[in-house]
Symmetry: C2
Subunit: 278 residues, 2 copies
Amino acid sequence: MSTDEKPVDAQHLSVVRTGSVKLFILTATYKRLVQKAELTRLCNTLRNVRDVHWIVVEDGSSKLNSTAFLLAKCGIPYTYLNAETPPQERMRNNEPYWWRPKGIAQRNLGLQWIRRTLVYGRDRGVLYIADDDNTYDIQLFEEIRSTKRVSTWPVAFAGELPWEGCVTSQKNRTSITRMWTAYKPDRPFPIDMAGFAVNTDLILKHNHANFDYNRPRGMQESQFLIDLGLSHWSEMEPKANGCQQILVWHTRTADPLLATWRRLESQGVLVPPMEDTV
Amino acid sequence: MSTDEKPVDAQHLSVVRTGSVKLFILTATYKRLVQKAELTRLCNTLRNVRDVHWIVVEDGSSKLNSTAFLLAKCGIPYTYLNAETPPQERMRNNEPYWWRPKGIAQRNLGLQWIRRTLVYGRDRGVLYIADDDNTYDIQLFEEIRSTKRVSTWPVAFAGELPWEGCVTSQKNRTSITRMWTAYKPDRPFPIDMAGFAVNTDLILKHNHANFDYNRPRGMQESQFLIDLGLSHWSEMEPKANGCQQILVWHTRTADPLLATWRRLESQGVLVPPMEDTV
């Protein structure tokens, strides 16, 4: 592990001074054609959020210059780390994209960074695991700032449904009455990674809560929340106006069409030189 | 045609007062599952740009409440219009997504709005046609503000290439020496819609420059620029550090996986009620 980060002490000072809650946005990313596009979009979104710290963890044995450059240019406080997915856990060519758990080693390194950097009871923060391909309404970030333990809200296009997640009743929007889900509904927390935020004190208190390659499919979120000391979905704090709004979409970017380029490349054609790498 | 817009006079005053160049971002959009997600992302991006006016044109016989609500919430100056694609020009189910020209009626209405709203020689503006699915580095918007006639820059993932567009020489980054393209390279302007911006005085001066369903494929951009009085790609002003950087990506969002939902829906299952529509 090596880090590439803005000075942490200065940030601590600003947290202590303003007394505000800092949002820690943890993004696992990996090299691919659309990586820069997706990180650029998320950068544009996070630039609208105050008191945010972006933890970006690259899947690889080293960091990428392109991501480092992008983060520096983005202009928000960030920490850039890298962790390599073990070879036996990497996606195979013939597997559908949802087959294997993704971002496990990277998210664990992000949790480790939080535990090494923040001090229990001193630093006030909320952690949100935000992948670079999803779409976020900036209202979400203000809503999760008040998370006491774990907050939750509906996620669009998750679990092969138009939306999946918490439901409240018309009489009382402050407590969750059911979880609307189709995939493994008996899970303790039938919820997508994009559908919850955690107070960092809970991360610091439960030092071993983590992600793990050796878990039944769909159980990453549930086991993580159990390890954080929760036992049932009804303990979570509903956000998005009592689970009444969509503030995050589980979007995926299509692979770019490059058939013409593959043909030209095979003929030995070279792209004109450019300062940038696409 | 009907409009739903912030008061134009107040905006004119601010243009006249500050003397700054306003960016007019013209976005043709249409109802689909990921529409709100894509407009939310573009909203997040444009919130980082000063002196911008977003012209959003819905494909339909009326405006959508969801888009109207999203634009109002976004908090940037905007105009919301609608124009319906003629039935015979609509995409058929068996056609690839790139088969028919898209956004023709919508972009033409946007051009009409500019011609009715701005005054030649008084209002200083630049028009950029920005689709809601592409990805934009906010640096692009500052670069195009200085467009005298028509500016251009490379576009990633266009024309089935890693990038397509202008090339300058190491000796002189201020003039274009060639266009790197594979698709119909003999076009007068072998360039994607996302790859150029136009000074609004040129739009006002050339009143009939427009888009048209009855044009050979790939000729929308070329004919539009010819109608604006240009005759060759070498007349365009290179941006992005002399066509050396990627500041826009031609990204596409995959259709959400909803197989489980289709099955449940056919069994008569209803989604729990929600304030929001996904």
